[in-house]
């Protein structure tokens, strides 16, 4: 098991990779059977997570991400984060609802709770306000 700092760093790397659509770090950061949830996705394996990240990789550009570890203890870690980015690619907010790029600059606040098995994340939950996102984009959803 890694140190508290290492676990916090793992969560932050995972978040960074997620917003950039970078799946190359998944094998290193997540267990094969990782389960995860966010307002826009639900996965039950590292492969599914990889596909979700790759699918959303071009949603944002000019990304700024800041973290504030709230609690890192035992096998769990909790990190608060703020992302500011440009909406430059389509965002899938529900199974079939896709919002095309608006070019708007937007800011999101959220919290990620992760559980570890050894040095890798085996479970995570990501909380952020989908309504806040939609309000900032201020664009009608298109099907």
């Amino acid at each position: 098991m890694g140190t508290r700092a290492e676990r916090a760093a793992a969560v932050m790397r995972g978040l960074t990779a997620g917003v950039h659509g970078d799946s190359t770090v998944i094998a290193e950061l997540y267990t094969d059977d990782v389960s995860g949830w966010s307002p826009v996705m639900s996965v039950s394996s590292a492969v599914e997570l990889a596909i979700e990240l790759e699918d959303r990789g071009d949603s944002f550009s000019e990304i700024e991400l800041s973290f504030a570890p709230l609690d890192v203890d035992g096998d769990a870690a909790c990190v608060e984060w703020t992302m500011t980015a440009t909406h430059s690619g389509s965002i899938v907010v529900d199974d079939d609802v896709c919002i095309e790029a608006t070019g708007r600059r937007l800011t999101l606040h959220g919290v990620t709770v992760a559980e570890f098995a050894g040095e890798r994340i085996c479970s995570f939950r990501q909380y952020w306000d989908e309504g806040e996102l939609l309000a900032q984009i201020s664009a009608p959803a298109s099907r």
């Binding site: 799946s23 094998a27 599914e48 596909i51 699918d55 071009d58 389509s90 199974d95």
Partner: protein
Amino acid sequence: MVGVVREGEERVVTRAGQARRPPLAGARDLARVLAQVDPPLGPPQFGDEVVERAALRDRLGASGGRVALVVAPAGYGKTTLLAQWAAVDSRPTAWVSLRESDNDAPALLSHLLFALEESTALGAEHYEAIALSVADLARVVLPRFGAVVADAAPTLWMLDDVHLLRSDAALRVLRVLLDHVSTGSTVVLAGRRAPDLPIARWRASRTVLDIGLDDLTMSEREAAALLRATGATLRPGEVGTVVARTEGWPAGIYLSSLAHRDGGDVARIGSDERAVAEYLLDEVLRVTTDDQATFLTRSAIFELVIPSACDAVLERDDAAALLDALERSNLFVHRVGVQDAYRYHQLFRDLLLAELRRRESTTEQELHRRASGWFESQGDIERAIEHAHASGERDRVADLVWAHLAYYIGIGRTATVQRWLDAFPANDIAARPSLALAAAWVAFTDGDSTDMERWAAVLHTHDLDGALSEGISRRGAVALVDALVSKDGLRQSLADAELAYAEHQPGTPYQPLASLIAGIASRLLGDTERSKVWCAEALQLGVVLPPLLAQASAQMARLAADAGMWADAMRHTDVALEVVEQYGFEERAAMCQVYAIAGYVRAHEGRSDAKDLVKHGVWLVASLRGVARFVALDARILLARALATFGELDLARELVNEAGELIAAYPDAGVLPEMLADTQARVAAAERPLGMSASPLTPAELRVLRYLPTHLSFAEIAEVIFVSRNTVKTQAIAVYRKLGVTSRGAAVDRARAAGLLDP
């Protein structure tokens, strides 16, 4: 658009690259040619001199069984009984008068189909499905025929002279008919012997009604009716005498009546065929005019007596009137079908032929010679060859066989060619280059390398100077066989094929084949440009020869694929597969290359039919070893490569091993060893990756995999391949899992290492 015909001609290709089907009417014409059926033959038409065998007829009609078996010697009225039943049964009748030539399955199938057509409206698709698939008997034709039979309205099938069917192929067709016959139908099998079918099993299940000798023997009452019908007025007691002398044999009773009518002694007619022969010779021919007797004996050379043929061969102009008169006055001359054609009772015909030989010992051969010429002029090659055989003109038979060999091989009637060859002793075949060539081609079609090499060796014992037939030199014809045998390797095969091309005049069917072989050999020698020229030539010349069109299109696809021009490759495989399917070449071993190339190209394109094509290619290539060994090698290597992409590694290894064995015994294999080594590496690589799932990628997953190296997002891939974004993601998840990776880049690397993607 794909060019599949000569420049300037209409291109028979749709926008999507699918070759259109030719007009369906051609299928029916071809079926007629295959069946050698002159306008449909129905039941024989009898005059008044027959006895209604109502009891037997009603017994058959009331049986309700699926099969009725009517077995008795000649002259017991089997055909008459069947005709009487057909006349009163409310169901449509499919009447088939079987012939020796029906031992050829395609002929029998078409014959049955035409008979069914007499009672049931058949769409053109039935002819296309059955008549044009003659080469693919077991897998395609028989099931389709079974379906047609099963779908038919309740029908009374009358198969007369079923004892003539002896070949395994013909009996298979018969079994399919019996197994699939529709509910409410009855199949009546009539003949001198029961056919070799599981009759005991039918009897056990009580689905067969037997009518035999005892049933067909005439009672005194029936005999009296027959005698009355012929105009004979016997005194009391004489009917009993006749029945006793003839043992109730209807033909004997009838002859007795004629004897009585003509003032003869009814007691002379016995109960065996010898007695009938004596009677016929002494009495029947005696009461005809000399001219009629001569006409009867001479026209007996025909199995089917056609007035126009009689006029031409017997050098007269009144055959129609003569036959009409004879039919009216003689039980043994029957009109058949709707056209003016007749058959002589077989026994009567045998006796007439014997009489011809006795009266005019040298005339028979001359008549057969003339008949052969007349039938050839009418385009009826099978009858032309039969009469040439009967005339003893072996050189003419050899010439006819050679002249029409390509056509008969081309439409899958190898068995017919083999039957022609069987009439010659082996040393006679060896002594005639044209027959030895025919034997070599039959061996090639059957995949019999030993026989093919044997006949190739025989051919080299002949003087190869001079022409074999118009436009074909002996040297060229033998060179083509040598090119396929490829005993000395690829360079010699190329040289032989180029020689064969030069020695055949344009328009001969063998020139495009020489081009094709030269094209394949050039590619396997690493000379791609030369291969393109030869394959394009084969494609142009072979457009009128479906097997060559399919093969040449496949070779063009292979060249396009090797050049990375996958769209062109796809279009060529579309054409090749369409031709194979349309002309029923699915079971021809030589088509393994078409399936190998099509499967390989379509796998690359992620097409869902790729795996089935490859599997079929594997099945076909199993029967292709020594014959055209470079084709056998090329196909095995390509199939192994395609199988590796599907994760079918056991089968891929098996093919690689077989190819290794074949190459070891092949003296000059060009780039084949290099191709084999590359494929071996691909198969090995597919086995190596750690964590890779044992389950192969599906065609749909392979299709998505193909786009992973590109810059396209999942959404964009979905648009390209016309599926939803979620479908692409689901398939990508499966691909990652099977490859044991968690990123797109790693998936591409792993797939390349496994040979699933080109480097």
